[in-house]
Amino acid sequence: MPGQSVGVVESQRAHFDQALHLRSGGILPAYDLVYETYGTLNAAKSNAILVCHALSGHHHIAGHYADQPDNIGWWDNIVGPGRPLDTDRYFIVGLNNLGGCHGSTGPSSLNPATGKPWGAAFPIVAVNDWVHAQARLADRLGIDSWAAVMGGSLGGMQALRWSITFPERVRNAIVIAAAPKLSAQNIAFNDVARQAILTDPDFHGGDYYAYDTRPVRGLRLARMLGHITYLSDDQMGEKFGRELRNSAFSFGFDVEFEIESYLRYQGDKFAGYFDANTYLLMTKALDYFDPSREDDGNLNATMARTQANFLIASFTTDWRFTPARSKEIVAALLANGRNVSYAEIDLNFGHDSFLMEDAHYHGVVDAFLRNIKL
């Protein structure tokens, strides 16, 4: 891997007392955001890049903690000295979004009004709410405008939303493996995932914390389903095929095929640490995302409000948010004469490709970022 890791990192916490009025009508009277930064903010405060996380991500993007050397950030391969998000040049900011379960205020946090976990009382948060919360963190850090806002999948949607909501605060936007809004099929998958959680007897209407239990079975199923949509058929075929754990069929319902073993392992691992209420919130944020709704569905009109330069990237094997979905964003930007480049990257890892290390993919991001004037 070219470049180096950022090494040992620490997370920080910012408390906000100013109420946040949410798109759902809900209000968060006060909240915490946990975040990490890598690199140094320059004197002009012009070299900051915000990296937004996807459905299950968080603030720990890169490096590792001093006491947890194996806890490596989720996008470590792209951040560090000599890497595309070069910490010798840029000041990188990552945070855990509201509603998350990695330290920022979310359903598992204590509701100050009751002294108990928020649970089902936690309001539905939208992508634009996250963007407003992120803007307050930017204010706190003294960052008037981002050199770039970037992300993959749901993170890419936040980058897109930033460019629409705060055009003067985003000089460049990198939107990877995203879509301008979800398709019926996308929403359908999300709803099956939610149903798995909502119908788990341990869900208790979202207030399972009080019962000292968690809807692990539902969350596990939700993750297994989600995981299938993150991978490509080819990749799954190459990696697992019809391989059996034992050489012969057992004619039963236990784990037989390697793909079953893999999915169950992924489901168990995820259900072990992730909060089911957060999963519900994140999928709803995805479903509701549609900036063009403000313009009666006319995405061209919506993108007319942007000022940033854009890099849009998609992956050939991504069937969750296909290249065609990214091209909808590209077309709307072109219709407005915006500076935009679009790369359709041939990688075999489906939607998850955006997290992979690939010389061409990272080269494109690197080339785009190196042309940014600070």
């Binding site: 890099l311 072109l334 500076n339 935009v340 480049s341 679009y342 041939d346 061409h360 080269g363 042309n371």
Partner: protein, 199 residues
């Protein structure tokens, strides 16, 4: 005669493009022409490319580049979004000749097309000698050539006529990049045309 970046057609194309115009360069390579037009003519430019290496090179050059396949049309571009749509030394590599010409004049007010002339006398001589031509403007061997359409100035003008396209201007160059005015279909190695829709 010295030419910009060793490409005599670039000078012609640049001369036809007004400052501040919106230019789309199809098959833009590493974005050299667009960069030249941006630097010298102050245009707003976008390119279309299919090759990964060129996408990377164009982004590195600070050029707006959209990865796409010209054979599949220009769906992501709106009608009449550009003042000029350039197809430089690329038409002969496109299978859907009529399709791409129509798309160029759908998304742009004016099309600028340059291509090698297969009837150039040296090419003819080469064929008479029993070999496929290899020259400054046809720099490939028959087995590694990206070219799929082989045509002459006269052929191209026939097609334009049949499609109802208007030839606004034509410049023809020899292999050294010098202008050719007589017997262009015989003495010209490279042709550059400005086209518009019939009105």
């Amino acid at each position: 005669m010295t030419h910009t970046l060793g490409r005599p057609d670039f000078d012609l194309i640049a001369a036809w493009i007004q400052p501040g115009h919106r230019v789309l360069d199809l098959g833009c390579g590493d974005g050299t022409l667009l960069k030249h037009l941006i630097d010298t003519r102050g245009v707003q430019g976008w390119g279309v490319e299919i090759e990964d290496a060129n996408i990377l090179a164009a982004i590195r050059n600070g050029i707006n580049v959209i990865q796409g396949n010209l054979e599949k049309g220009l769906d992501e571009f709106a009608d009449q979004a550009f003042d000029h749509v350039v197809l430089s030394r690329t038409l002969q590599t496109v299978r859907h000749t009529e399709g791409i010409l129509r798309e160029m004049l759908r998304v742009g007010r004016e099309a600028v097309v340059s291509f090698p002339n297969f009837a150039y006398w040296k090419n003819l001589r080469s064929v008479l000698d029993g070999r496929m031509p290899v020259s400054e403007d046809l720099p490939y061997q028959w087995y590694d050539s990206p070219n799929v359409r082989f045509f002459t100035l006269l052929d191209f003008e026939d097609l334009c006529n049949r499609m109802g396209l208007v030839i606004r201007e034509r410049s023809v160059l020899d292999e050294e990049g010098n202008p050719v005015t007589d017997e262009v279909n015989f003495l010209g190695s490279l042709a550059v045309y400005r086209l518009t829709q019939n009105r």
